[in-house]
């Protein structure tokens, strides 16, 4: 009989080791899934995790994609991790991402066809404000009415999608687009574009912002009183209240920061890789970032690696789809599985497994 015995303090080795083991177990389970789909399991795993980086034929295309896709994931996940640590669950980052993209793009399009170099910084600010404002809705409702922020933030994703559909087909539609849905192309217009900064690397301003967010996140959590309060509120809410931590302020801080970062990520995407506001420019980064945050142990440096790994599964998934005909949704199931294994292995950090019957007390 297996039983669990609580560790006096969480095991550091398992906290670091669990994500690695979870990735390995996901590869095994994913291989079984691919075998069930009638694919060669080893080849599928190699196509997803190895070929995008090291294959001679694909690496030149795939490697830049890595930063391109990891950028938004890391940027969003850093924001989410602050709230998750404090027990404030913003799971509507996808909605904040959409609203940031719409607000930022609207700012740029309002000044079209000006090519003033100040427009792009203005778009970034507008994007961050859009995401921030969208996240303030659950924040105000939670702080003022104690409404569950999980449900509100998630439901607002669907509202944001409705607004996006109306923007793409109506009020942000390209007037010269002969009636097709979608805005003017932002990435091909100087002044509104988010260009590749170093050719062949996939590096754009969004990736730069993600790296800065990692550094600031690290400083906030380890060197600043607010970071300490966030951790305290999550681990011991009662102690936090006695220590004078204002729970309302933490709600506004955590939701506000994550909303602003998600909004910025959305703007960088429409002004760069996506190019324009269209009905379905969002591909679920806001949801995948939840997995990234947990896989990275809610730690900024961990999130950096987790974001890169998750970006790899996206790219590898596309490659496997192209080369082997693996269905596209398989990769989403694969990412979900990764989170399951990670959560399951978490138990080993906090508990010791003992076999056999307990000795009579």
């Amino acid at each position: 009989m297996m039983r669990l015995e609580k560790r006096p303090t969480p095991s550091r080795a398992w906290i670091a080791g669990a994500p690695v083991l979870a990735v390995f177990l996901t590869m095994v389970a994913g291989g079984i899934m691919f075998a069930a789909l009638g694919q060669a399991p080893l080849e599928a795993i190699r196509t997803i995790f190895w070929d995008p980086l090291f294959s001679e034929t694909f690496a030149s295309y795939s490697r830049p994609q890595l930063l391109l896709k990891a950028g938004p994931l890391i940027l969003i996940a850093i924001g989410l991790s602050l709230g998750f640590r404090a027990g404030i669950w913003n799971i509507g980052a996808e909605g904040q991402y959409i609203m940031g993209a719409i607000c930022g793009a609207a700012f740029g399009l309002a000044l079209y066809p000006s090519e003033n170099p100040l427009i792009f910084p203005g778009m970034i600010v507008a994007g961050a404000l859009g995401g921030w404002a969208w996240a303030m809705i659950p924040a105000v409702l939670r702080a003022r009415f104690r409404t569950n922020e999980i449900l509100v933030s998630l439901l607002l994703v669907y509202v944001a999608e409705a607004i996006l559909a109306s923007a793409a087909t109506n009020w942000l539609r390209n007037p010269e687009g002969s009636g097709f849905p979608g805005s003017r192309n932002l990435s091909r217009h100087p002044g509104t574009d988010n260009p590749e900064l170093i050719a062949g690397t996939g590096m754009h301003w969004g990736v730069v912002a993600a790296f800065i967010a990692v550094i600031l996140g690290y400083i906030l959590l380890n060197r600043h009183i607010l970071g300490y309060q966030i951790k305290l509120a999550g681990q011991a809410p009662r102690a936090a209240r006695f220590a004078g931590v204002n729970p309302g302020r933490l709600i506004f801080l955590c939701l506000g920061v994550s909303g602003a970062l998600a909004g910025m990520a959305g703007l960088f995407e429409v002004a760069g890789p996506a190019g324009q506001i269209s009905i379905d420019f969002n591909v679920g980064y806001g949801f995948t970032a939840i997995i990234v945050a947990f896989l990275g142990r809610l730690h900024p440096v961990g999130i950096l690696f987790a974001g890169l790994l998750m970006a790899l599964t996206y790219i590898g998934g596309e490659l496997a789809q192209l080369m082997m005909g693996v269905p596209a949704p398989a990769i989403q199931a694969f990412q979900g599985m990764l989170l399951f294994f990670l959560l399951a292995l978490d138990v080993l950090a906090n508990y010791r497994i003992k076999w056999g019957r307990e000795a009579a007390a």
Binding site: L4, K6, L37, F84, W89, I91, L141, R144, F145, R146, T147, N148, I150, L151, V152, L154, L155, L156, V157, Y158, V159, A162, I163, A165, S166, F287, I290, I291, F294, P327, A328, P329, A330, I331, Q332, A333, F334, Q335, G336, M337, L339, F340, L343, A344, D346, V347, N350, Y351, A361
Partner: protein, 307 residues
């Protein structure tokens, strides 16, 4: 007249059934002290399982059963992770939704654009032709009546039986229930599986009757609305029924308003079910005493029997 009230009521009953089923299942789960945020994932797995089985066997009944089995199966992943491996319930529920959406899209890919076998009405059409009463009470399929019976059954079990009392005790204080010798983990696993089966059945109803076809992501937030409904109902079964029908009424009404082109922006009408759900959540939660009194005290807390 623009909108006929009788057909609207008949339509709202059908429209509410998927979220009613999911909500009544989640209500039992939460009464046992477990917060499963994976309702959306379980619903969509139920939708795809039910659809696949119904298309391949030609029997909607088998489809509904397998939809429930699929939902229950997925919910047990959540059960094992949260109850045996003591993982965080919020994170695990989210994982269940993300995984369920991915797996359902994967399984359902070959089934896009296929029509499922039809589910007939329970009563003969002569009864449905009775003016006013007919369309409202006799024009539905068996799952609609089953969902109402299920609400009655959950209510009577929770309030009138020993099993219901034990379930509630586990949800109020797992340590006290454990000390009395009740198997907290086993009871919770059963509640989780029941919740999964209900969500799966609700999902199968979506793909086999409401839509009826399979499209990726077809639950479109229904699972989250069901979760909100449990809060709205203050964990009381009959209020979940009222809430579901109110919500279904709004959904049915907004579709009719869109068809009638009344000059309200489409985006606002599309978003109205979600906005109204948020509004209702705010109204309920702002009443501090009521919200706090009815929520199961051990909701979302991890149980580890030490010694």
């Amino acid at each position: 007249m623009l909108i006929d009230p009788v057909t609207l009521i008949a339509a709202l009953i059908g429209a509410s059934t998927p979220i009613l089923l999911a909500a009544i299942g989640e209500l039992v789960v939460e009464k046992s002290g477990v917060l499963n945020l994976g309702v959306e994932g379980m619903m969509i797995i139920g939708a795809v399982f039910g659809f696949m089985v119904a298309v391949n066997t030609g029997s909607p009944t088998l489809g509904f059963i397998m939809g429930a089995v699929g939902g229950a199966g997925l919910s047990l992943i959540f059960g094992v992770l949260t109850q045996i491996l003591l993982s965080n319930q919020v994170a695990t529920g989210l994982a269940l939704t993300l995984f369920g959406l991915g797996l359902a899209a994967l399984l359902g890919e070959p089934y896009a654009g296929i029509n499922p076998p039809l589910t007939g009405n329970l009563f003969p059409s002569t009864m449905a032709d009775i003016p006013v009463v007919g369309p409202i009470f006799f024009s539905h399929d068996i799952i609609v009546y089953l969902s109402v019976l299920l609400v009655a059954a959950v209510w009577s079990v929770l309030t009138k039986t020993r099993a219901g009392l034990i379930l509630r005790a586990v949800g109020e204080s797992h340590d006290a229930a454990h000390a009395l010798g009740y198997k907290v983990v086993r009871i919770r696993l059963m509640a989780i599986a029941f919740g999964g089966a209900c969500a799966g059945l609700g999902g199968a109803y979506l793909s086999l009757v409401r839509v009826p076809s399979w499209t990726e992501g077809m639950t479109a937030g229904a699972g989250w609305i069901a979760l909100a409904l449990v809060v709205f109902a203050s964990w009381k079964p009959w209020r979940a029924l009222i809430g579901a029908y109110l919500f279904g009424g709004i959904a049915a009404l907004q579709l009719r308003l869109q068809a009638a082109e009344v000059g309200v922006p489409v985006a606002l009408l599309d978003a109205s079910p979600y906005l109204i759900t948020i509004l209702v959540l705010v109204l309920i939660s702002s009443d501090r005493t009521r919200a706090a009194l009815n929520a199961p005290a051990a909701l979302g807390k991890v149980f580890h029997a030490s010694g």
